[in-house]
């Protein structure tokens, strides 16, 4: 083990984690099958020795979720970890929090570690908000006296004061998440490992969470923060790691890593339109309905991800429902690449409701006329909502990235700032015109 200086609080050296493909099937094995296998094993061994093969599964039955990951974190640093789904971010946190063991390499961590891989770990519906606060706190590694000291603060932060002695199964999902996050946010370890927990609740609560996270970082705590929310990474972290296929491929300032990541994302995302298995937003708890396709189409209905400035944006949406449902509305949010919301289109505001049934997928065309978006790259989030209040039935963050082409096709770069490029007419003012202008004013 190598020596590290006093202020290095996390030292990760060639950390690797291998999963066996189909490892989950082992859990469905019966004891009977296990016994048979144990009996057969010696014969297999003999067979493989005779055949001069090494016993055991071959290398291609494994996947490396982490491969040779090395980095160090100094005391007080706030480091973001970004990467595509399946790049190994969550596995890295799972190894660092000791939920799972590494296969190779090692990591050294100094100080008390707190982790937030999920909010509401261990929440029990039968118990009251108060009881769950203590229980959840204990799971997160807080002692009773710590929770006692922070109890009022936690309750106030969550905003569920009135219902603190009501069993949490009577809570709305929003209240539930707020209380759960409130407990987690008051954890005060030396090192905090966070996985995407800011993505819960409504916008106001998310802002509150982000604010709380900022406080945590100002207090000089060391934080490792996994997120898909680039804005949050940008605001909280000075440094970021970019992961890809189980390895750290970039370790630099947050701004430059985010830039590289977004470029990678734009390159490969436009190609897929099938979102049936895309990652869902954490607020989606039901699976009655799922978006299966979401794409931008041209005049002929053919998939595209580039539109000319001023063209109608034609979205094609497909969803499959497991049950008969009415009163379904679709909502969409268009954001710039740095996550500024350009517009939110709510089906509800247009009184457009759909019914869905398991027999046939729901297919919707949504045309946005007179869009005068400034040339650039945009991302679209799509939501299916049945109830006005409460969590969406389905929500996919940014499955679609499209580009509005520059006004002059030869320009690859657009100058200027803003969200809109209005339809304009330029006219040189001739003496006669100047006269008329003066007259009118």
């Amino acid at each position: 083990m190598r020596d590290i200086d006093r202020d290095t609080v996390i030292d990760v050296v060639k950390l690797s984690k291998r999963y066996r493909i189909g490892a989950l099937q082992i859990a469905d094995k019966s004891l009977g099958e296990g016994l048979v296998e144990a009996l057969i094993q010696p014969f297999r061994l003999v067979y493989s020795v005779v055949r001069r093969n090494r016993p055991g599964p071959s290398e291609d039955e494994f996947i490396w979720a982490l491969k040779d990951v090395s980095f160090q974190v100094q005391r007080g640093e706030v480091v973001g970890i970004i990467g595509h789904n399946g790049a190994g971010k969550s596995t890295l946190l799972k190894v660092l929090t000791r939920i799972t063991f590494p296969t190779e390499g090692y990591a050294r961590i100094r100080g008390r570690v707190g982790s937030l891989l999920e909010v509401g770990t261990g929440f029990q519906g039968m118990l009251t908000g108060r009881e769950n606060t203590y229980l959840n706190g204990a799971f997160l590694g807080m002692t009773k006296s710590e929770i006692d000291a922070k109890f009022d603060e936690i309750v106030e932060f969550s905003g569920v004061e009135k219902f603190i002695d009501t069993p949490v199964r009577h809570y709305s999902s929003g209240m539930y998440l707020r209380l759960a996050f409130a407990v987690a946010a008051h954890l005060e370890p030396d090192i905090l490992l966070v996985d995407e927990v800011l993505a819960v609740g409504d916008a106001a609560f998310q802002r509150k969470c982000l604010g709380k996270m900022k406080d945590v970082t100002y207090e000089g705590r060391t934080v490792l923060f996994v997120s898909h929310n680039m804005l949050a990474i940008q605001q909280l972290c000075e440094r970021a790691l970019l992961m890809e296929q189980g390895g750290v491929i970039m370790d630099n300032t947050a701004a430059s890593v985010i830039d590289t990541y977004l470029k990678m994302t734009d390159d490969d995302q436009g190609e897929t339109t099938d979102i049936a298995h895309a990652e869902r937003h954490p607020s989606v708890t039901r699976d009655d309905i799922r978006f299966t396709r979401f794409t931008l189409v041209d005049d002929e209905g053919i998939f595209t991800n580039r539109v000319k400035y001023g063209d109608t944006l034609r979205f094609y949406i497909e969803a499959r429902s497991k049950i008969e449902m009415d009163g379904l509305t679709i909502a969409m949010q268009i954001e710039t690449r740095d996550q500024f919301t350009v517009t939110t289109i709510l089906g509800e505001e247009y009184d457009v409701e759909y019914s869905a049934s398991p027999d046939e997928p729901l297919r919707v065309r949504l045309d946005l006329d007179h869009m005068t978006l400034r040339p650039g790259t945009y991302r679209v989030t799509i939501l299916a909502i049945r109830q006005r209040i409460g969590l969406p039935d389905d929500r996919v963050e940014n499955p679609l990235v499209f580009e509005v082409l520059p006004l002059r096709s030869e320009d690859s770069l657009t100058l200027g700032r803003g969200l809109l490029t209005p339809k304009v007419s330029w006219r040189a003012v001739t003496p006669e015109l100047a006269h008329s202008v003066t007259l009118e004013s």
């Binding site: 004891l31 050294r108 961590i109 100094r110 009773k144």
Partner: protein
């Protein structure tokens, strides 16, 4: 940096995360550090159980009493089993009591890892806490059922012979050790083989008849009686009857054999559990 902070850096804990290979130490110190979590998990399970079932505490009494009535009719009345001169209902109830604690603890702890898989995948804590808490959860039930035995003793006018009654907690501990030891083996196996629970219900039924619950161990001659005590529950129940009802000879050497057997099961179970721990999070 303040002097205080300096101090805390010097003493701060260092964790080394490395691949798990072979036999893993038990790390009882860490288990001790997590005693509050053990308390909360136990408290959660107790609270939920008593809140959830309509009859709540009544169940804790009804089950052993029903068993005692059934045994008294079948083995006491019909089969006329020898009950060492004690009224048969009291004879059987004094055994049903620790047996119910043991079998409840064993089945709960065997299913505990699978039942808490959501936690195991999301947060780190010494996994030993889970089956341990499952065994301790049975204590209030035991306490309630114990009130019945006090009532029965008053009714029959049979009292503990001496201060040996103070040894009861030791026999309860021995039952807990056995339940935990076997529970550790099964809870780890249950993660890999999901049909383990069927084996447990079968095993418990079999085990009860291999334990002097409905009959007296006097039916066996030496050296078979001592050999019989390799089943730790033999020592528990013999000891329980002796300490509580004040009859018969102290179980002596049988108790020693049972205690050694229980400790062997516990220690081997704990190491097996630790060894399997590395696959829990990936499987469950």
């Amino acid at each position: 940096m303040s002097a205080d902070a300096q101090q805390s850096h010097a003493t701060e804990r260092e964790i080394i995360i490395k691949p798990a290979q072979g036999w893993i130490p038990l790390d009882l110190r860490e288990l001790w550090d997590y005693r509050e979590l053990l308390f909360y998990m136990t408290w959660r399970d107790i609270t939920v159980r008593y809140k959830q079932t309509l009859m709540g505490a009544t169940w804790a009494i009804l089950q052993p009493v029903a068993n005692m009535v059934l045994f008294s009719i079948i083995f006491g009345r019909l089969a006329k089993m020898d009950s060492e001169g004690l009224p048969y209902p009291l004879f059987s109830y004094s055994a049903v009591l620790p047996w119910a604690f043991f079998s409840g603890g064993l089945s709960r702890s065997s299913g505990s890892l699978v039942g808490n898989s959501n936690l195991i995948k999301k947060v780190y804590f010494p996994r030993l806490v889970v089956p341990l808490s499952a065994v301790i959860t049975g204590l209030p039930d035991f306490g309630l059922a114990f009130l019945v035995v006090i009532g029965m003793m008053i009714y029959y006018g049979i009292y503990p012979a001496s201060l040996v009654v103070l040894l009861l907690p030791f026999f309860l501990l021995l039952a807990a050790i056995t339940a935990l030891g076997v529970g550790l083996w099964f809870s780890a196996m249950n993660v890999i083989y999901r049909d383990t629970r069927y084996i447990i219900s079968f095993l418990l039924r079999f085990w009860m008849y291999a334990t002097p619950v409905v009959y007296s161990s006097k039916v066996l001659d030496e050296p078979w009686r001592t050999l019989y005590a390799v089943n730790p529950m033999v020592g528990v129940i013999e000891g329980f009857r002796w300490a509580l009802l004040g009859q018969g000879d102290p179980p002596g050497f049988m108790l020693f054999v049972s205690t050694v057997a229980a400790l062997v099961i516990l220690i081997s179970g704990a190491y097996y559990f630790r060894r399997m721990e590395k696959i829990f999070a990936d499987l469950s």
